[in-house]
Symmetry: D2
Subunit: 287 residues, 4 copies
Amino acid sequence: MCRWLAYSGSPILLEELLYKPVHSLIDQSQHSRMGVETTNGDGFGVGWYGLDEAPSLPGTRRSDEPVLFRGVGPAWGDQNLRELARSTSSGLFLAHIRASTGTPVQQSNCHPFRHGRWLWVHNGAIRDFSVLKRDLVMAVDPELYPFMAGSTDSEVMFFLALTFGLHEDTIGAVERMAGFVEAVGRAHGVDEPLQMTVATTDGERLWGFRYSSIGQSRTLYVSTALSTLRQMYPDNPVFSELDDETRIVVSEPLGDLKGAWNPVPESSFGIVEAGDDTLGRFQPREP
Amino acid sequence: MCRWLAYSGSPILLEELLYKPVHSLIDQSQHSRMGVETTNGDGFGVGWYGLDEAPSLPGTRRSDEPVLFRGVGPAWGDQNLRELARSTSSGLFLAHIRASTGTPVQQSNCHPFRHGRWLWVHNGAIRDFSVLKRDLVMAVDPELYPFMAGSTDSEVMFFLALTFGLHEDTIGAVERMAGFVEAVGRAHGVDEPLQMTVATTDGERLWGFRYSSIGQSRTLYVSTALSTLRQMYPDNPVFSELDDETRIVVSEPLGDLKGAWNPVPESSFGIVEAGDDTLGRFQPREP
Amino acid sequence: MCRWLAYSGSPILLEELLYKPVHSLIDQSQHSRMGVETTNGDGFGVGWYGLDEAPSLPGTRRSDEPVLFRGVGPAWGDQNLRELARSTSSGLFLAHIRASTGTPVQQSNCHPFRHGRWLWVHNGAIRDFSVLKRDLVMAVDPELYPFMAGSTDSEVMFFLALTFGLHEDTIGAVERMAGFVEAVGRAHGVDEPLQMTVATTDGERLWGFRYSSIGQSRTLYVSTALSTLRQMYPDNPVFSELDDETRIVVSEPLGDLKGAWNPVPESSFGIVEAGDDTLGRFQPREP
Amino acid sequence: MCRWLAYSGSPILLEELLYKPVHSLIDQSQHSRMGVETTNGDGFGVGWYGLDEAPSLPGTRRSDEPVLFRGVGPAWGDQNLRELARSTSSGLFLAHIRASTGTPVQQSNCHPFRHGRWLWVHNGAIRDFSVLKRDLVMAVDPELYPFMAGSTDSEVMFFLALTFGLHEDTIGAVERMAGFVEAVGRAHGVDEPLQMTVATTDGERLWGFRYSSIGQSRTLYVSTALSTLRQMYPDNPVFSELDDETRIVVSEPLGDLKGAWNPVPESSFGIVEAGDDTLGRFQPREP
């Protein structure tokens, strides 16, 4: 299984979500309440987009790519993650804690996965993945194929989405990926193979998805709009500081504050972007 | 054995010294030229002092401590280090690659060691350390004792220096530590026990030391003053960018540029600070 | 916290206890029922005494020491442990899964600890260990001091017991260790510091201990005598195969078989050896 | 790059070849003399076939598969490998130390690779593997495809050989694999892609291969026949103990004993089996 979170908004230290909340992601690595397992100790990862550029020396270019930090041990004990989280700020980041559904515990199987400026995290699984894997992998664009480093269904889903146009039509690409996985499942006699919550981002916008073939998906929540939270909690200094664009999408709520967390419906997508955010219906398509 | 580097000056990306030079620290992890071993693959670490503060949420305080990132695998293959180095800038940092002299390979035995705002790296060893260890450790201030997390001679040397006044009289404290190690050695029939190059910093000034009881110390180099380098290489764009305070202290030169690297003499200390830097004679003292 | 098991009897594959029971030690690494935490994912270890000698080449001597295998990752995902367990047989072994009580996750902090032919595992903690550590460590025999490789209270307890005569008077040595820990606690204003279940063995006999200063100790169970189990379950083929000496001591039962598991009383020790086994009262002593 | 060794003969402790010789495999992990790199610190592995069966409990079957132990850290520092090697005997084992040629350092990328009773180690590389990988992987039998766990060229070569009949016609299968790799290379404009020394075994016989498209292969040596060694060194007690079938195949000699090591010619295969061993010419074939 797994748990993940995605943040977009005013720059904050990573530790504000990874460690500090009463039910932070680190807490969820040992005491997940809504997951298949309470423990998510098979690795972790964070991907973030940097803030200001530090001065560069002549002849050097700072990379546009998000930074990736992934470890194979349990998140709860990782000292380097603790150090990073207390010293790194970002206005857009994805974090993930892993419970393997069968593939090896190794850094190349930790989320987020990255390709260019894109990041991807996934909670769920493709049922009977070992039976379907070859057909799924073969549908990945041959130009993209060499970039798949691990052995997870999650990574294959990402690269199928990239193949089906994640850059140009993000929602459509993920819908085509879902449709393709279900079609391959049918071809192999595997019913209702797909179970997914997914977050993906290109460094500007953040997309969240909640879907399963069986119609009973892993949990997913989105935070209430900041403007509403400020009205509900006018004395809360944190809400006063964060800008209106701030949004958190997360497998399970980071705390118990009333009215702060909203379940994302089954078969839905959401877009977090400048201005209004969108919630819409997710429907697998023919690829 | 080990190799280390210390940088103080204009903020630069860590990768400028860790990865980019022809004989970078990462290169030295596999192809050290001047060390006891060519390979330094028993872990690594970087400690750095941050630049600007990112905005903090109300009620939070950003820590003053330097950030520490240490790994137990060989530095040459660590993906997280690569990511960190290309995305982290600092005007003051220490980095170290380890070749164990007998104690276990574990994160708590990787340098830099940190205490409060202080960082410490060491190349060398205390001969017959297992014989001398108890007496050395017992001389560490009992208030400091619980902070020793590992089992290396390097860490004990740091905590002895802290005990002997590293905060108030840095040179004197390290001289007293060296004198004490040699005295304990004599008491146990271990002649000429100490072999060390050391860098330590409090986030403002940077001290380097080169000393061995036997008078044949591990190599140590300091970079030529930037003002001189600009005269020698007026077309070099990097030298034009770096400020006059910039100084690198390193176990072995990062490259072959003529006139850029100067051996630190035997039994010496150096201070890198605002204004003129100092080179002086290092002499172990009675503690 | 932690969980452990100790086996003495007919040689069996390690997997028979580590993996196969419904509530095996590996299951307990994720779903401990009686521990402080459900998860014990901060490392693991097994120590076993070998069976027959394989032919040796001239000039070689097979070591008498038990074999030690310790890993820093969660036991549930360790492929090497799985391989080892399905291919290694022993008539006497200790296994342990760790939940750190504050000290680093590293191999030198995993149990069992070994010294000569002795192995030691511990579940529990010394309260305020960082305050008491220096006095405890200083009481370890200086000849033994260099052999302490890690930073746990568990290891210090082992070396104190060795100092107080573990070889010659095992029960007495552990009682003196317990008394000393409590005395040092009193001297520092730490009441009721000791919490322990311990197993230790010299390759011949196996000792188990259950004691806490507070009188509410971590759980400990011992298996019913094989002769009795055979009477209770005459059709059970496993019980027919195992010899009468076979005994398992374990933090929590490996399964739910009625009458197979017996709680070890508070403040008790047990000795598993050829012939009758012993259960007696454990009382801390002045060292 | 990499180094490996294969042993077949009288059962010996693994440490006899892994640790004890003057230029043991562990020594080669830091001081390889004949390899591309002196350091092979990107993981290691050993696969061995067990000796006698320990008593099994009713209802259990000991697996026929060889045991596999693989670690991601440098072999020279691995404590578990040291323990295993001093306590494990085998009459047939393969061991490997890795220097990555580009793919991640992870356990699933360590050799030996295993499938059923087969083990496989490889030194060398497929040039421009990322360009050729998709076509190579697609030629693997779909029934075997799900068993590929890693991302190395070495593992793909193994599974291609399995696809081309490794069980039934071992030499032919490896020749067909080599021919296929070269054909795919040509199709993508990659000349002379294959560089390989390989050892593979089914638990009965041991095959060694030395071939490269370019005709300049990595080094490979085979030990002199025991009967001859006994004549050359009549006072050597080790040679008296080992049976006539004993043979070592190795990337570079484990020591300097005159006449003990024989280079395997370019484009050769060897079979180590009961009775006479075979050396023959290796020629890639159309698959």
